[in-house]
Symmetry: C2
Subunit: 351 residues, 2 copies
DNA sequence: GTCTAGCAGTCCCTCTCCGAGAGTGCTAGC
DNA sequence: GCTAGCACTCTCGGAGAGGGACTGCTAGAC
């Protein structure tokens, strides 16, 4: 979780408590934390002068820094990571929020609606940007494929993945095909290739085309031709909600930062790359400040986790906001949403 | 095109030319136009003092105003309307842009892709926000409806409208239905109701349910039940592209305006209402500044036009940006895109 | 040794002031 | 009817001063 190569300097209990207080206070208040502010909490029974000494040590060790000489302290990336890993107390998602989440995700009937709801929930509950990475259709497992004649040479191809993603596409064929042939072609493809990813299927199709039978069996040839046209893979899709929410954050007080932010969003490729990195790891992961190109420019953080459909990892989801975010709430929330979405996707075709 | 009730004061040719120059210069440069700037163009052979007199007249008549005493002049809403109606010279969409537009819209195979492309093109070519209002499914004309069994009690319902909009929805039925019954139900509905809007169909279904035959004919009852579940109407959809583009506009120099802007976008209902007003009228229409609630807060303008599929008006499309926009380019562009999209939608099922 | 009171020093932020610049309206004269 | 010239107004940006918030350091208390 902590890409920094520097070894963290050891801290005694008191130092850790002070560090936790400083970071917690900074996250709540949004302003550099002064020694006096920490002393006033009276939890440690120390004067501001003593706190000052400790804070100077913590700065030396790389966990805090000063925006300018006569200012309070602010966490560094290393500070945040230590806070997340060892100092903060996670706050479980409240029952009320959980119910809200469950009801919204259950109300959706297919995977597209579910992922859309997830992205909205992420943004709504954190007041930050919610992101959900949806796998390219090519990486989903085929459940059904169906061809429907629409008019003359137009055929509608409907692909349903086993996790509930539905994609339809109008294709144009060389000559009109009868409804029954289309149904048979759909059945053939569903039976032959159901349970495989579209990527696999594409590879197998190449083999099937060379098959001797394909030269003689009209239906087989037709099926292959249709599949070739319709099972092309798209790019992975990125849902993003709540970009407007961010404007209420005080860290975006000046316009040049807002511009930077929107440029960062425009370049979705970078965000997709980060979210892809997330697929490999197990649980929630946080990129803070300098950890990544995307987050460093703006002093932002990305907290993300992978979600599954059954055993298969599908994509990842998370939130993007200022580094100063309530990690103690946000991390459990991202975790909960990843679990809830995973379960919903696994359940899609139960009935 | 001009909702103002005030009678426009009559202007002689020279006044109109000066007004046109002032507005044109303001649109290009973005700063209040001084008498000296107009005089320097030497088109009128007048000194800045004379121009000053004329500009003072134009202000009195309500076409120009001064941001403050010692500043140049800026157009009023009335000024812009006069400019659009009578003063500016429209600049036809360049052949290169037209080719670009045609190729992008032709590349899309269904109506959703076409409207999405249109919205992107609007934003890309004007560097402002492109909007496309897509009719509620209920207002589209049914071409085909098809039911596909997916698993157990889940049935996928695919509706294709005659203009090429495709909507699919997973519905859960009480007990598993055989594939053949589903196909027959789809055929029955397509044959009975094809050519009608979904809104009509819903009304007719109510009648059909009371039909005596429905009590005996199993297939008929099944069709009606399926249709009831799947032909529910959604809300009209609003596509919006290029909100980030706007941040590059100098009129959004201060953050409070940016916030207002994003709040305005958030409240899509208002925008939908304006775009709906556009459906009735024939061609391009412009709302400027105080013309509407939406545009007045921010000193923005909306330039929009309806688009059709065949004879039927489908929705509207346009661009949203600062009142200071290049109407001479933008209006022909919106017109061209409305025509191009209309033609494409009419052509969808030609083959 | 550890902690703290007190103090000097640093830096930021805000307010005010002032001058430069741009543009206007008005007047007198061509 | 047009224009040169002038006084006036308003904005904008920079300089400078004062106040406030912290810190680091030192010397002394426990």
């Amino acid at each position: 979780m902590r890409p920094s190569t520097r070894l963290p300097a050891p801290l005694n209990t008191r130092d850790r408590e002070i560090l936790r207080d400083v970071i917690y206070t900074f996250i709540s208040a949004g302003e550099p934390v002064s020694s006096r502010a920490v002393a006033k909490q009276e939890r440690h029974g120390l004067s501001s002068a003593s706190i000052r000494n400790i804070m100077a040590d913590l700065e030396e060790k790389g966990y805090l820094r000063q925006p300018h000489t006569s200012a309070g302290r602010v966490p560094t990336t290393a500070g945040y990571h230590l806070y997340i890993e060892a100092l903060m107390r996670q706050r479980a998602v409240p029952v009320k929020e959980r119910r809200y989440i469950d009801s919204h995700i259950d109300a959706a009937s297919d995977a597209d609606q579910r992922t859309a709801a997830t992205s909205q929930l992420l943004s709504e509950l954190t007041h930050q940007v919610g992101v959900v990475l949806i796998p390219a259709l090519a990486d989903t497992v085929l459940k059904t494929v169906e061809f429907v004649p629409v008019s003359g040479r137009r055929v509608l191809c409907v692909v349903v993945s086993s996790s509930g993603f539905i994609d339809s596409k109008l294709v144009e064929v060389e000559e009109p095909i009868g409804r029954e042939d289309l149904v048979r072609a759909g059945n053939y493809l569903t039976e032959t290739f159901g349970g495989h990813t579209l990527r696999d299927i594409r590879d197998r199709l190449l083999v099937a085309m060379d098959d001797e039978r394909a030269q003689v069996d009209r239906l087989l040839a037709l099926s292959i031709a249709l599949a070739k046209k319709s099972l092309t893979d798209g790019a992975p899709e990125l849902l993003m909600d709540g970009t407007a929410e961010l404007l209420t954050q005080p860290e975006l007080a000046d316009l040049s930062r807002v511009r930077l932010l929107f440029e960062a969003f425009h370049d979705k490729a970078r965000l997709v790359r980060l979210l892809n990195q997330c697929l490999a790891g197990g649980g929630v992961r946080a990129w803070i400040g300098e950890d990544s190109e995307l987050t460093s420019e703006l002093d932002f953080s990305l907290v993300a986790a992978p979600y599954r459909a059954g055993e298969r990892v599908m994509g990842s989801l998370g939130i993007l906001g200022p580094s100063r975010m309530e990690y103690d709430k946000v991390i459990p929330l991202v975790e909960y949403l990843a679990d809830t979405l995973s379960e919903a996707l696994a359940r899609t075709f139960e009935t």
